[in-house]
């Protein structure tokens, strides 16, 4: 049994955030994942981001499907409501919950099996609806919990522990999301908390579907040579092309980076994300350019990471539903039930 690797930070671990909570308050129960599992690092990053953003724990809804990755919501923000649903169907749960109670913070955690196999249809449609939530795909190229079968993100040629070789082309979640019109697309690596934390924060702030694909090695079944989801491969091939740097009220996080030449993208809540434009003319708001850029990098065996695309203005699901500004769950019954008089008028049409 492994404890969550605590976020490596400079200041005393009992520092409190704006609402007086310490990082501990954002932890959950003890992880039961394998020692060194990439998912635990992502859990730590979520804890860090939630703490850093002063989220009220009980206003957070954590959702997941089934898998090692989907177990992780138990390991962060213990005081948040959690829903470990069924395999591959978390997006529909989130969509319904979000429509009825939009002003909670929705954090969905899934795996590549959960999202790209049994759940691919729901993932595509939650992207299309632009449901306002953070969706983290903890991508290890295998089905961890069922002991190492290939997932749809496994690369051609990778060998499974039992020796079989995968022959099917992988589905790239980032390209899929871009193609389906996702309004926030990012990729990172479980081992790179410095990059991951601000991305998660930006994703939570984004008003719409924030899709974050995190390469997260499975040390039990997919952390060996030949797998692009291994620690080694990822470390070697990381092309931290685009780094997101979230300008927050608090100084400590920003200080973790040097500014460098940057381009501002306003987020709806007023905060802003700056891009380090490693490639010239990189435009995080031009879907086609981003798509072409990612394809090009991957053709060179690189994994572009960072906040790759964002469209802060697209209407999200609740906007398109056209529901009242209040949470539907807060509308009093009196305003929902038309009452006996209106009934008379209605029935008139049936006499």
């Amino acid at each position: 049994m492994t404890h969550i690797t605590k976020p490596r930070v400079r200041h005393p671990s009992l520092a409190t955030n704006a609402i007086g909570l310490t990082r501990r308050d954002y932890e959950g129960s003890m992880s039961t994942l394998c020692a060194g599992c990439g998912h635990d690092s992502i859990t730590a990053a979520i804890i860090q981001a939630a703490w850093g953003m002063d989220l009220e724990p009980h206003r957070v809804a954590k959702l997941s499907g089934i898998g090692c990755s989907s177990k992780t919501p138990t390991y962060f923000i213990g005081q948040a409501h959690g829903f470990n649903s069924v395999h591959g169907r978390m997006p529909s749960i989130a969509t319904g919950a979000q429509a009825a109670h939009p002003d909670l913070t929705y954090i969905g955690v899934s795996g590549d099996g959960d999202s790209l196999a049994i759940g691919l249809g729901q993932l595509c449609h939650v992207i299309r609806r632009n449901v306002d939530m953070l969706y983290i795909l903890e991508n290890n190229g295998v089905y961890g919990l069922t002991k190492g079968q290939f997932s749809a993100s496994a690369d051609i040629g990778t060998k499974a522990k039992r020796g079989q070789v995968n022959h099917q082309p992988p589905i790239d979640p980032v390209l899929l999301a871009l193609g389906l019109g996702a309004t926030f697309v990012a990729r990172s690596f479980s081992g790179d908390k410095a990059q991951l934390v601000p991305i998660l924060e930006a994703g939570i702030r984004h008003q719409g579907f924030a899709f974050v694909d995190v390469v997260s090695p499975c040390v039990a079944f997919n952390d060996h040579e030949g797998s692009t989801k291994s620690y080694k491969y990822t470390r070697d091939h990381l092309a931290a092309a685009v780094e997101a740097d979230l300008v927050l009220p608090m100084a400590e996080i920003t200080t973790a980076y040097e500014p460098g030449s940057a381009r501002e993208v306003k987020l709806p809540d007023g905060s802003s994300v700056r891009f380090r434009k490693v490639p010239d003319h990189y435009d995080p708001e031009d879907r086609d350019k981003v798509y072409a850029y990612v394809r090009a990098r991957q053709a060179e065996g690189e994994i572009p990471t960072g906040l790759l695309y964002v469209d802060a203005d697209a209407p999200h699901h609740v906007d398109t539903l056209g529901t009242v500004d209040r949470n539907l769950v807060d509308v009093p019954f009196a305003e929902l039930c038309p009452g006996s008089e209106r009934l008379e008028e209605v029935l008139a049409g049936f006499r």
Binding site: Q79, G96, H125, P338
Partner: protein
Amino acid sequence: MSNPGAAPGGGKAAGVNDFALKIATANGTGSASANGLLMKTIFRMGIPVSGKNLFPSNIQGLPTWYEIRVSGEGHTARRAEFDLMVAMNPATYAQDVREVRPGGWVLHDSTWPLPDELQRDDVTFLEVPLARLCNERFDGARARILLKNIAYSGVLAALLDMDLEVVDALLEETYGRKKALLDSNFEAVRIGYDYAKEHFDCPLPFRLEPMDETGDHILMDGNTAAALGCVYAGATVAAWYPITPSTSLIDAFSGFCGELRKDPESGKSRVAVIQAEDELAAIGMVIGASWVGARSFTATSGPGISLMSEFIGLAYYAEIPAVIFDIQRTGPSTGMPTRTQQGDVMMVAYASHGDTRHIALFPAHPGECFDMAVAAFDLAERYQTPVFVVSDLDIGMNDWVVPEIRWDDAYQPDRGKVLSAGELEGMEKFYRYLDADGDGVAARTVPGTHPKGAFFTRGSGHDRFGRYTEDSDAYQDVVDRLDRKVGGSVERLPKPEVRMAGGTGANPAAIGLVTLGGCRAAVLETQARLGERGLAADVMRIKAFPFGPEVVEFLLAHDRLFVVEQNRDAQLRSLLALETEFPLARMTPVLSYGGMPLSAKEVIEAVERTMTAKPATSIEEAAPRRRRKRA
């Protein structure tokens, strides 16, 4: 009127206000408005009437029929025998002419003369060159096709002694603003009416005579009524995927919400209607919305329930409310999408893998669709579990004359045990699955209420504290409570409708007729007819699952029991035996599953057939497979 309602009312002289006619047209030719006009005219004349729309799984061109039954006594079941056939579709002339009862009448469009081989000398043919007449008076294919239908309504008005003022009034209401349309409709009616008066001696021996039996009634289909019930129950999220015959429920819901749920200031909506990508997503959205505390529902049919099975098990085990309308159609598989059946009874009772058991309500007509829709939300929240409202195509899509829907403004939704921020504040610690009150129902919280209210919802093994577990005792503790909880719901479920032949409180008759859903109409008619022949039969109509003690009492009180239902495998009968331990051998199945609404004729024949045969009650006779008798 009596049915649905009080006991059968005063019968009329045979023929008057007691006949059935059938209209044969082609799909997509717009006969719906004409048929609706006829139904509503009769309804407004105060006469109990029922209509059955037999349409194909197709959008245009295939044969379609509309059956209208007029019954002063108030019998709304399908009448298998037809006194008058309106044969407008040459493609089905042969079959249509065959279906008229000896001595009956055939009205047909003589623009296309009947082939001689179809002539019958035991029926009277009424020839009206409808197409020709309309083509002479109206321009444009569209107008000609549509008004031809109105024209046959005119003929029928004359033949059946309809109140033309009522007809005109209805046309006014429909086309009031559209003057041109209105005039052409008026004219079309007259074309048919005058032609009939001129060429036939009107009215026919069977005809209409104004009554006062529909005053406090409405003419509505079950899906519309169910949708209205969802509006009044305060449902705020509907997630669905289109499937016949449930689609019109959501259409009606959206329609009603357009007016009834619009926020006056912002013009925005107080409801979210989400067309999901499939049924798995639809039920997932419902569960998600219910999880955060909204009243949420979906409507589907058999194939959808199959697809929802996994999620239904999650809602049962994780204890999340969900209201599911199953508008049954003929199965298995895709089956006959536009035909009715009661083939999902067993499935809804035990849907999903593992040990599960679900609450189900069985409306018998649109009026109950409204009431049970409201009840379903109360029950789902009270017991934190999926609740099925099991309707079917006949109830859901056909127009029924039912007592007007009433609403008590004192109604407050039963949210069940949902802890408020205040209650949580006062608590030492909240544990999700504690059976504090001993009724098997644990208090729940909704996200965002209060820091103390947070818990983890999961479909995997959990203990009474809501913690993940793989421990046998901790697991059993929870599933045993679930069983008590659902069993305990009986106290709040609607009791069966019992109609003793001798009147309420009378001693049991020898025969007991047990049924559910839309079969009610035919079974009550059967009770009346058998009574006339001196065969006293009591009726029990199941309204809910799990069954209450009244169900057992009725079964025990009758020697000869018939279970009347619309499926092949006698599913209600099976459920009764399983859940009450009453012996199967003592319940004779009466089964009708060809996809048509049930007629009393089928039931009466089955009962009489069996009453002349000797009952098989001894276990020793038990065959190694289900013994069934079909209607």
